[in-house]
Symmetry: C2
Subunit: 137 residues, 2 copies
């Protein structure tokens, strides 16, 4: 791999810029603790207000380990050629929303790519919403 | 967003296939617990044996929170048009390797894109190495 003469600078995004990035994507990673420590699973998501809403299997590890607990949600994108990129991290408690609180129309609900029963919704109640950018020197 | 008629199947990767993917990338996410729960930060990495080696700031949160603790490391890639992708998750304890145990030549050491003092190395001692693929229906 070729080394760049000048390394990229790290710049913080403010909450609004972080939220814009969050709204612009549909795949991220839910970060949670199970009985063996922290782990991550990629999932499709939508943004509701400033919260992250995902749809998962009622029998899977996300449904088992996240409700009522502190979690994170991360998205990012990178440009290997230019050695730049950005990431956004949401932190907050995961909750299981009441059916009545889900978005009314399918279009605003999470749309999982993966097969299977994904009727179990988890909403990350955003407290922290931060982002960082690697900008070229 | 257009909905596909048939959703993708989830297939497990075996350890060897997961390792091949891990060796093929240079950016992933270190997943760890700090004093506010689980979180994730993107980092550049190299693979040493089956372990993940990163270089970070001695003053940052990775250096503060990971040594001696259980962590995870995640990589993935997605194809939004085809609604497919894959992910690999490493789990294990993070340790600070002795200088003598670092790869001899720079080429095999982590090459951080970001500016700053990144002389603090963290090695994730891989115990679990698993992967999943979303394959078209």
């Amino acid at each position: 791999m070729s080394e760049h003469w000048f390394k990229a600078h790290i710049r913080d995004m403010d909450r609004q810029e972080s939220l814009e990035h969050l709204k612009g994507y549909t795949v991220g990673r839910i970060i949670f603790d199970d009985d063996r420590g922290p782990t991550a699973l990629p999932v499709n998501y939508v943004v509701v207000g400033e919260d992250v809403l995902i749809a998962t299997s009622p029998y899977g590890s996300i449904a088992h380990w996240t409700p009522g607990r502190q979690v994170a949600f991360e998205i990012d994108d990178f440009d290997a050629a230019n050695e730049t990129g950005w990431s956004v991290v949401v932190r907050g408690e995961a909750e299981v929303p009441a059916y009545a609180d889900l978005p009314d129309d399918n279009e605003h609900r999470p749309y999982p790519w993966a097969e299977g029963d994904r009727r179990f919704h988890v909403r990350v109640r955003t407290t922290d919403l931060t982002g960082r950018r690697l900008v070229p020197a």
